[in-house]
């Protein structure tokens, strides 16, 4: 009994200390932020309830988008190699094949209308900064026309089967123009020098971000970088919740590849140790019964 009392005292003291230096300190250093918003509610320039017309969308895309963007899935090739594209625009413009799948509909429509606001980069592209985002705002288009484009992009996006390959594709489409993933052999499609000039700093390699930032942080951060890192030049990319989960899953596949092995083995080792502990207890009882 007395030994249980001692154990209780130790557990209490250790528990208080642990609470202070882990959950509590974490809470102080990283205050909770507004929950991720996957419907991008604050963006309301385009009425997304309008039904789009695919045919008309195709016409608009051909007239307005493919001069800079490839849409591989619809047979529009890239106009120039990555290095040249980066030199011309600052960053390689994305291939829009998966745009209809990975970007939220409301986000995508509002992005076409006004990219800078959608990306939440008003702080970077101020009139005083003299910088301009390479893609023009299409705020002269009618909401109907914008929804035609969105509907067209959704119609051409290839179906993907879920799994590691899809996760990888989503990661490359959403993050791969700027970020390396060294542990997966992935290099940003935009050359480093262009990126540095364009972003102000070289975007980090993401190989270990699942460990250094963790799922919880990434969940908010990817949804809207400004919330956690005010003033960052990383844009809000507007992923749907599902696409974001795929990105995070991929980061875990690469950054914490032994997770499954760790968790299975952990249970076996603990079971083994439990058996050892019980045997040791029985042996101790036998031995001590002779001396007590």
């Amino acid at each position: 009994m007395k030994e249980f009392k001692i154990l209780a005292v130790i557990v209490t003291l250790v528990g208080i200390t642990y609470y202070g230096i882990e959950p509590y300190a974490h809470h102080v250093m990283h205050p909770e932020v507004a929950p991720a918003d996957f419907s991008f509610k604050t963006l309301k320039n385009v009425d997304t309830t309008l039904a789009g017309n695919v045919e008309n969308g195709k016409v608009l895309v051909e007239a307005n988008c493919i001069a800079c963007h490839a849409i591989d899935a619809a047979g529009y090739p890239q106009m120039m190699p990555n290095a040249d594209a980066a030199a011309s625009y600052g960053v390689v413009p994305p291939d829009l094949s998966s745009a209809g799948r990975i970007y939220d509909k409301n986000y995508l429509a509002n992005f076409i209308y006004d990219p800078v606001t959608a990306m939440h980069l008003e702080g970077k592209y101020t009139p005083e900064s003299g910088k301009a985002f390479p893609m023009p705002a299409y705020n002269w288009m009618s909401p109907q026309e914008i929804m035609d484009i969105v509907t067209y992009l959704q119609s051409v996006t290839p179906k993907v089967t879920e799994g590691k390959e899809a996760n990888k594709a989503t990661f490359e489409a959403a993050c791969g123009r700027c970020h390396d993933m060294k542990y997966a052999g992935i290099q940003a499609t935009t050359p480093k020098d262009n990126l540095k000039a364009y972003m102000g700093a070289t975007p980090p390699d993401l190989s270990q971000y699942i460990k250094s930032r963790g799922e919880h942080y990434l969940h908010s951060f990817i949804n809207d970088p400004q919330v956690l890192l005010h003033g960052t030049s990383m844009p809000r990319v507007g992923l749907t919740e599902k696409a974001q989960e795929e990105v995070i899953a991929y980061m875990e596949t690469i950054g914490d590849s032994k997770k499954a092995e760790r968790e299975t083995l952990g249970l076996w080792v603990m079971l083994y140790t439990l058996i050892f502990a019980i045997l040791a207890w029985l042996w101790k009882r036998k031995i001590w019964s002779e001396v007590h």
Binding site: I6, I21, A25, V28, K211, K258, M270, F276, W283, K284
Partner: protein
């Protein structure tokens, strides 16, 4: 040379040459431990086992680790954690083990303080124990640098910077320790040497010394009772096992230790596999970058209390800068436990709760150390800075008052 008769058994063969029969008696079956002990007396064996885990896992890590600023981070986080079969297991055991070893060291240390196991003949056990504490601290600090993550770098930067406050030689000393003007490749390689060779060797030596120091005064017990070990041993050997106040190290004492060890390892492996962030800080999975200071820099949890004593003094007092005061207080905090046996002026060897004044001192100290540890991690701004100052002062005052408190206690109990 003595005449050797032909041995009848393998045991005899070895006994003739190495005296194994006697050796086992002296070290195990007739090494006497008081019977009146609780599970807190298993901490030493837990530490020995954890240290073994650290050495073995460390040896495996050493096969793939690369002590070079350009390769260290990836050799740990890619090669060891993801490529080598079970490399991650060795890293987790090593990192979590290094953290948990301090938890057990603190339990072991404060058990010693609680039961007064550092005085009346046990001074050298205590001093050798403190030596181990210092060596383990150096081992923990040097090891933390090796993965070359952001916290490795900045903790190394901040801690080595501390030595710059030492009068006259400070600046040169910092350069001497780092091997450069800033934390760099030469810092990494020398800390690597310290971590894998010099300090482990010193620890092994200190453990042997610690065990040897236990031999003559014998281990203390739950009531702080003094008795004649030879007499009690005779009783035991004569078969009066129940009556005797002692038990042999093997198998009786160790059977209890194995039992405690078993349940402890269950907890340990839970941490290793499922709950390791406290020992492997997420910030350290960002590669070291000398141009990018992290928002919060803090040492490993087991250094937080002394780190807070360092930070606690943040303003000038009587013309001495806060920085210097902090450094002095930090120096005292790290050395003061060594002289515990001489600060405690009461001859009483009893559990703290049976000592009229010491008990308050003990629990005050515990509370203060917890406050220091928690605030050592929090950003030192606003009210936090003042809590840090108050708890640092409390720490110093507690130790300054100890001789007087215990002297008064000795008087009260009349030298018992």
């Amino acid at each position: 040379m003595a005449e050797f008769k032909k041995a009848d058994s393998m045991l005899e063969w070895f006994d003739q040459r190495l005296g194994v029969v006697n050796f086992v008696k002296v070290m195990m079956t007739e090494y006497w431990i008081p019977k009146n002990i609780n599970f807190l007396w298993a901490m030493g064996v837990l530490l020995t086992v954890l240290f073994t885990f650290l050495i073995v896992s460390g040896i495996f890590l050493l096969m793939y680790y690369k002590p070079d600023v350009n390769m260290a981070f990836d050799s740990v986080n890619y090669t060891i954690m993801q490529e080598v079969a079970y490399g991650w297991l060795f890293r987790h055991i090593h990192a979590v083990g290094a953290s948990v070893v301090f938890l057990v060291i603190y339990v072991h240390m404060f058990t010693g303080i609680y039961y007064g196991s550092y005085k009346k003949g046990r001074e050298m056990i205590w001093v050798s124990g403190m030596l181990l504490f210092v060596l383990f601290s150096a081992e923990g600090f040097s090891g933390y640098m090796l993965p070359w993550g952001q916290m490795s770098y900045w903790a190394a930067y901040v801690i080595t910077e501390i030595f710059g406050g030492i009068p006259f030689i400070g600046d040169e000393l910092v350069v001497w320790i780092r091997g450069n003007f800033y934390v760099s490749d030469s810092t990494l390689t020398r800390f690597f040497m310290l971590h894998v060779l010099l300090i482990p060797l010193a620890i092994l030596g200190a453990i042997v010394f610690h065990f040897y120091a236990l031999r003559f005064p014998h281990v203390n017990n739950e009531e702080g009772e003094f008795f004649d070990f030879d007499e009690e041993a005779e009783k035991y050997l004569a078969g009066n096992k129940k009556e005797s106040k002692v038990v042999p190290f093997w198998p009786v004492f160790l059977s209890k230790d194995f039992f405690v060890l078993g349940f402890f390892m269950l907890f340990f492996f839970y941490l290793v596999f499922f709950h390791y962030n406290f020992a492997m800080d997420p910030v350290n999975f960002d590669k070291a970058d000398g141009l990018k200071t992290p928002a919060h820099i803090y040492p490993e949890w087991y250094f937080l209390w002394s780190y807070e004593v360092l930070r606690g003094f943040f303003f000038e007092i009587a013309g001495v800068s806060g920085k210097d005061l902090g450094l002095i207080a930090f120096g005292i905090a790290n050395a003061i436990f060594f002289v515990m046996p001489w600060l405690d002026r009461s001859p009483m060897v009893k559990p703290a709760n049976q000592r009229p004044y010491f008990k308050y001192w003990f629990w005050f100290l515990m509370a203060d150390l917890i406050v220091l540890t928690v605030y050592g991690k929090l950003p030192p701004t606003g009210a936090n800075a003042w809590v840090g100052f108050a708890s640092s002062m409390t720490f110093l005052v507690l130790f300054a008052a100890l001789p007087f408190i215990t002297k008064a206690e000795a008087k009260k109990v009349g030298g018992k």
